[in-house]
Amino acid sequence: MVNPTFRITGLDAFYGNKHVLKNINIDILPNAVTALIGPSGCGKSTFIRSLNRINDLILTFRREGKVCYHNQDIYAKDVDVVELRRRVGMVFQKPNPFPKSIYDNIAYCLKVHGIKDKDKIDATVESSLKKAALWDEVKNSLRQNALTLSGGQQQRLCIARTLAVEPEVILFDEPCSSLDPISTAKIEELIHQLKQSYTLIIVTHNMQQAARVSDFAGFFLLGELIEFDKTDKIFTAPKDKRTEDYITGRFG
């Protein structure tokens, strides 16, 4: 039995008085893709945003229960949140490149972690853009402002930026929802490759996408984790009626 990367036990989350996650228990295994599905507003984003504590930015956010990353409670007092976020990267729904050049978008992430060596930065810019399948499109315009890229390119830049700091886990919150089918295919392909070396968690509304890219899948409904299992089990023989209804599109 492999040790889980994340072990979440009894997680409850609130925005103010609003109870949005209820008693979530889940193990996330390393070097696998875990997909999270469920209707809008059921708490998928809240869930993955509590794995790298990015939800701490939301002043009304509050949680109870445990999120353990390699057996360490990430909400414990002595946790270095900055280091946690370096190890648990995140790609957001809407591409959010920094208003800097393509090169500086990645260089910034390295400088943040104290890397100043120009050659090392150059090399990492190139290698992470290559991993994110963006290098060929931008290698001649690295000094161009990242906001001039297309949405799909921006999203791949955000992935490159995340890869540059060498995380162990990457959280994807609907990474393709604002992209066209071609960009989506590129990013799916990318996720496929990243699986070799990273632990990936992806929130998606696209059932085919979840079925294609993931090894495990979890179905959320109204703040509860209804079912969590191997992806083929969830999609071929779901145990819960509600899961079945949702994936077959019969959900009201």
């Binding site: 002043l59 370096r86 995140m90 959010n96 920094f98 208003p99 992430c109 943040v112 930026r161």
Partner: protein, 299 residues
């Protein structure tokens, strides 16, 4: 019967509409009037003193027997005090803005911001005496040679006066930076300081620049503090420790003095006013443009 009523109603509507129109255009009319007066009076001035002379003569002595009409000493005084003010206000204002927008809890932010605005409501004459009677003696402890009237203390106090403006406007600009940029910065492991300085600050830069320019034009136009605490000696110097005179302080001096209307000496006010108007006008247009560009980026 109905007809008559409608006529009355129509009349009422027209009256109300024209009243509203007059009110809303009142300030525009007044501004236009002021500009017209400035133009006419400075035209009178420049008929007797050439613009070249005005811009290049190194002395300003309109009230002496040996008259010189060089605006440079006054401009120099204005720039000197403005420079000191901006040097004081920008760092403190920006640091407050960064703190309020990136660090402070909602409660602190909502308490501090109104305080900043109260600070902006202190009458400038109070600041003037604060400079003269408090800051100058204080500075004298450190710099014994400083004159009783000087550019330094009025510049510093002017800076203190515009801190709220800088802080409040820069905070607005930083606050308007979309949350997802910060999230991006934090997600790659930035500290708050790194996110604030390297992501939020550059993203808000045009808004912050607009705040900066507004602060400069506010300092250029500030009158009371410099009239009280900077002295009234037009001098072409960059030494902040001696009495100088700014354009605004000169205008006050003449307006309050007994210079007869219609004379050349009297008209110097308008030439000075015109200079001041052009300076701040250009700056304000600049800041307006920047602000618009900033809004375009994020809306």
């Amino acid at each position: 019967m109905i007809k008559k009523k409608r006529k009355l109603l129509n009349l009422k509507e027209t009256v109300i509409e024209s009243l509203l129109f007059l009110c809303s255009f009142f300030s525009i009319f007044v501004t236009a009037g002021i500009v017209l007066v400035l133009l006419v009076e400075s035209w009178g001035f420049f008929k007797e003193v050439s613009i070249l002379n005005f811009l290049t003569d190194r002395q300003w002595t309109p009230l002496f027997i040996n008259k010189h009409f060089g605006i440079l000493p006054l401009l120099c005084g204005t720039f000197l005090t403005t420079f000191i003010a901006v040097l004081t206000a920008i760092p403190i204002g920006l640091i407050s803005a960064i703190y309020l927008s990136e660090y402070a809890s909602l409660r602190v932010r909502n308490t501090v911001k109104p305080f900043l605005e109260i600070l902006a409501a202190v009458p400038t004459v109070v600041y003037g005496y604060f400079a003269l009677l408090f800051i100058t003696p204080l500075l004298r402890q450190v710099i014994p040679g400083i004159s009783g009237f000087n550019a330094l203390s009025s510049g510093i106090v002017m800076g203190i006066m515009i801190i709220p403006l800088v802080a409040s406007l820069s905070e607005d600009a930083m606050h308007a930076v979309p949350m997802n940029l910060r999230e991006g910065a934090y997600a790659v492991g930035s500290s708050r300081m790194q996110s604030a300085l390297h992501v939020v600050f550059p993203a808000a830069l045009s808004g912050i620049t607009a705040a900066f320019i507004l602060a400069v034009s506010r300092a250029i136009g500030e009158t009371m503090i410099v009239a009280i605490a900077a002295g009234q000696q037009p001098k072409l110097t960059l030494n902040p420790l001696v009495p100088i005179e700014t354009i605004t302080a000169y205008i006050v001096q003449i307006s309050l003095g007994d210079t007869p209307h219609g004379t050349l000496e009297y008209r110097t006010i308008f030439a000075c006013g015109m200079t001041l108007f052009l300076l701040t006008f250009v700056l304000n247009i600049f800041s307006f443009k920047l602000k618009r560009r900033f809004q375009e980026v994020y809306e």
